[in-house]
Amino acid sequence: MTRTRKRRMMIVLLILTGMSVATAVAITAMQSNVMFFVSPTNVAEQELAPDRKFRLGGLVADGTVVQSGDSLDVQFDVTDGNHNVTVVYTGILPDLFREGQGVIAHGYLRNGRFEAYEVLARHDETYMPPEVQRALEEAGHPAAGGESKPAYGADA
């Protein structure tokens, strides 16, 4: 390799290194801002100001979904295994919404309850045919149908 080519290669590597360092610094600085949602544990640990909009993510706790008979009002608990937050919402829920499903609610924390104006379902990374899921359920496998990602844990 000639001297000019070596010099050009150094410049290419320099651009690459410079961009990587700059991006790493920016990413570290913005870590919490890039988070799409916070977990119920985060809510319990931090004193969040009322009327501050944020997204709450977790699993719909089993047996907590209360649907109103004559309106679109719905109430359910979002859990990460350690803490629960009660969510109230008026509107149509996504198709994937069910107990044990990952959800992300966007709204405010008021009087200890999370008033959501938008509820999104969060799909997990597991793909399998219905027969396999049934077989897993019959075998009493806990992973069937549930979230497997630890992102809802306290460290999320």
Binding site: F36, D95, P129
Partner: protein, 258 residues
């Protein structure tokens, strides 16, 4: 021996007339392989693979979405290698190939974003959210478009290619961000399903169509890259003798009365 053969081959392909002949001969085979793999993969995806236990038939869009996303990122890596060769060795064919790769990568990124959005509305309940995975993929599209715009902004294509190549190298940092976005941050997008190391979170019965459509996107990229690069070379060298020789059979055909 192998090294010197490879080196000779590499140098030969750097010559526009030889590259043009190579691309003209190889591209049709790649197109054929693309159509065969994709048609078979789509057949498996629609008729053979089982529906998902939660999403039922909506999950089938992944057989297009995931290969497009993978190839959009692989296309960038290939473009970056070509851009580095172009910057260091100033090989014109490498410059042309790097620039020819950008619109293909942009198209694949767009396919990924559109199919993801179509899936997101019924599954998540939204067409678009500004989470880390979706946003970093949109940034990839903007980088691709930026490279195309920068290249087109210069009257001298060689100068434009070199300037755009610097942007290609700089934009490389976005790739790890896209890949790790679902691990570093909480996102609406689910985590990685297919893993090369470790267990994939997909039932084996759903894997074959994914393999075929993924192979299809590799051939699509190769075919489109060779065709685009050859066309760029022919257009830029249109007044040179080698182009006249290369296109002579086609021109002779045109002269003949119908």
């Amino acid at each position: 021996m192998i090294w010197s053969t490879l080196k000779l081959w590499f140098h030969k392909l750097g010559s526009p007339p030889i590259f043009s002949v190579f691309a003209r001969r190889v591209a049709p085979w790649l197109w054929a392989a693309f159509f065969a793999c994709t048609l078979y993969g789509v057949y498996l995806a629609l008729y053979v693979a089982p529906p998902d236990y939660q999403q039922s038939d909506s999950a089938r869009i992944l057989y297009i979405h995931v290969p497009a996303a993978w190839q959009a990122m692989l296309a960038y890596v290939i473009m970056a290698v070509l851009a580095a060769i172009a910057l260091i060795w100033r090989i014109r064919t490498a410059e042309i190939m790097a620039m020819a790769a950008a619109p293909i990568g942009a198209a694949l990124t767009l396919i990924c974003l559109v199919t993801g959005s179509l899936w997101g509305k019924p599954m998540w309940g939204t067409w678009w959210e500004w989470d880390a995975r979706l946003t970093s993929m949109l940034v990839l599209l903007f980088i691709y478009v930026g490279i195309m715009a920068l290249y087109a902004a210069y009257d001298d294509p060689r100068k434009g290619a070199r300037v755009a190549s610097v942007l290609v190298i700089a934009g490389l940092v976005n790739l790890p961000i896209i890949h790790f976005s679902v691990e570093w941050w909480t996102t609406l997008h689910q985590g990685q399903t297919i893993r090369i190391f470790g267990e994939s979170k997909m039932d084996p019965s759903m894997i074959p169509p994914l393999i075929w459509t993924t192979l299809g996107t590799k051939f699509l990229f190769g075919a489109a890259l060779l065709d685009r690069a050859r066309n760029l070379l022919l257009a830029q060298d249109q007044h040179k003798a080698w182009v006249r020789r290369e296109l002579a059979p086609a021109l002779d055909d045109r002269k003949q009365p119908a």
